[in-house]
Amino acid sequence: MEHTKISTIEGLNKYREKILESEKNELPTVFVCGGTPCLAKGSRQVFEAFKKEFGAQGLSGSVELGIKTTGCQGFCNQGPLVTFADKDIVYMGVKPEHVPEITEKTVKKGEVIASLGYRDPQTKEWATEYSRIPFYGHQKKLVLKDVGQLDPARIDDYIAGGGYSALVKAFGMSPDAIIDNIEQSGLRGRGGGGFPTGRKWRSCKAIKTDVRYVICNGDEGDPGAFMDRSIMEGNPHAIIEGMIIGAYAVGSNKGYAYIRDEYPLAIENMKTAIEDARGLGLLGKDILGSNFDFDIKISRGGGAFVCGESSALMRSIGGNVGEPRAKYIRSVEKGLYDKPTVLNNVETWANVPLIITGGVQGYRKVGTKGSPGTKVFSLAGKVVNTGLVEVPMGITLRELVFDIGGGIPKGKKFKAVQTGGPSGGCIPESLLDLQIDFDSLSDAGSMMGSGGIIVMDEETCMVDLAKYFITFLVGESCGKCTPCREGLRRMLDILTGITEGRGKQGDIELLEELCDCLKWGALCALGTSAANPVLSTIRYFRDEYEAHIKEKRCPAGVCKELITYRIDEEKCTGCTVCAKKCPQKCISGEKKRPHTIDASKCIKCGVCRAVCPFDAVIVE
């Protein structure tokens, strides 16, 4: 529809009615997932095929309305995903050649093509309904409800579904009443810390000042986390609406969305959304006749993990090197340009319209007493179903990994889950029935973090994993404070020694001491939480550390210096593939006879193991 400024609340309601009227479509709209994993698997081609097919068949309703690309629909390893408006059908692994059949049967006649659904690996049964697919059936989609059901580049889609009505409701409330609502809802910061959002807003509003800022933290830097990206890509207006409400409540006229540069699509969609909102008068001067001015500017991050820390992020927005400061004075008092600032994470902002629309009681129905609402997680690693999931707080890790995630692939044994990225820790099998909420994860030595859940199986070495995170943190430490800059390097030295067979008695204790120093001495939360990956692996997998140190053995078969590659004579058929691919040319043997590896030349690159069709290469 034409975008002209809407200057009253009534005008917005009329605009919504007009969209609904003009978009009446006899056939159900086809949604093709446009999340990055689906795009990588060819969803763009599927989209084009639909366009062509609809055009060729001259189907009623314009092509633009009939087929939409959406944000991430969640079940990433099964993509490209295709769904339909108002229908309980989801198709997976769709290819362009499926498009004519889908158009003919499902779009036109509403028939289901079972073989494009989900096949349960155990029962071998096909399912196309959300409720019958365990990955979706156990989820509770609130924040992600519209992601995958609308075209993120079209503000009309958002408004048609009731978007910006929370803002209208908020304008009818006093700013204090809004803050009361957010406080009573129990919303806690989804970026990881879990700080009560309402309290943050109230503290900011209480300070007398001429200027206040609100910031959306979209610098999702945790490896293994992609929730915020999916929300920014899939439903940017929910974030913007939340920010406007927040700004109105605390009395701010200027907002920033800080998005990491590695997310080009998120930046593009947020940019379009902000421009469209501005075009309709939902951002800018005198929004909907409320006498309230607010606008949002996008800042792009520069690929520095530490910029996810609030004070570093604010320095980065100001055109500086993103180094954190000591927070004796909190950023709600002195934040961006030393002015009171409310900084919330993407997902937190997206929760705000839900609370205003549904009310405090409605919001608190989901989740636990201490952590109400839902949490979006990205589920990845050694797990059958990977993707984006939203579950009520209080669900157990076991449900998340086994019911939704479908367990461990290839019949391997579960070992641990890692939550909270480099600031979090590993949780062992004995704690699988732990409820996921902010407090119980901290008690277990991990943390919620932004919501990355990485599943690990028996082939994961926990010492190597600790080394991995510390290597990451050494690279990302900004270098301002000594415990983080030096402490992490020494920890890496010790961990490298252990994984290379040079570990000695006392190493574990020394690591623990360094962790303690980091915990108490580092300047910002990234430093103080950097000890978690090491401490939690020592806490739950001390025996693995000891096997490396005392027996010079890596039980998981990962640490190169402690393992050898060998060919199983019984399994080897002498197909010679490994010998041809070996970069060291150190595999020999006659055709159709078992081969052998010359251990003195082997560089343990793993190529032979990867190419062997018979799983005959063994790591010991």
Binding site: A40, A225, F226, G303, N320, A380, Y468
Partner: protein, 152 residues
């Protein structure tokens, strides 16, 4: 390498003259020239009245920025947690062996630059390699070498 100073000015003129624009302009330099050229830093310093040292500090602090030109194609091997567990280290090593460069370096013929990145957020495809704009999921030390051949 000589830089078209008009291009520099073209990028700068698209932004408001505020320090907030510095990082955004540097990122545009990176995109346009495949690095942050010395001339660009000098020009920014003049226009914004900011010491060159401060802009240099930014150019070295932020990973997205480079002071040396990158190759025609950038290979980003994701070494996020999920990719690490699923074998990203093997993939990095295979590329290192083939191209004879380490992460952060560029081949002599400027065909490829190799980088490791912490997470591209497509963990479901792990291990992921991103070459220019193309995502390759399920990468192995074997198939990645074949995929490199598509880029000249």
């Amino acid at each position: 390498m000589a830089i078209d100073i008009q291009k520099v000015d073209g990028i700068v003129s698209g932004y408001e003259q505020s320090k907030e624009s510095l990082l955004l302009i540097l990122q545009d330099f990176q995109r346009e020239f495949s690095y942050v050229p010395e001339e660009g830093i000098k020009r920014l310093s003049d226009i914004f009245g900011v010491p060159e040292s401060r802009i240099y500090a930014m150019a070295t602090f932020y990973k997205a920025l480079s002071l040396v030109p990158k190759g025609r194609h950038t290979i980003k091997v994701c070494t996020g947690t999920a990719c690490h567990l699923k074998g990203a280290p093997f993939v990095v090593e295979a590329i290192e062996r083939r191209l004879k460069i380490k992460p952060g370096q560029t081949t002599k013929d400027r065909r490829f630059s190799l980088e490791t990145v912490n997470c591209v957020g497509t963990c479901a495809l792990a291990p992921v390699v991103v070459i220019d704009e193309d995502y390759y999921g399920g990468s192995t030390s074997e198939n990645i070498i074949k995929n490199l051949k598509r880029y000249t």
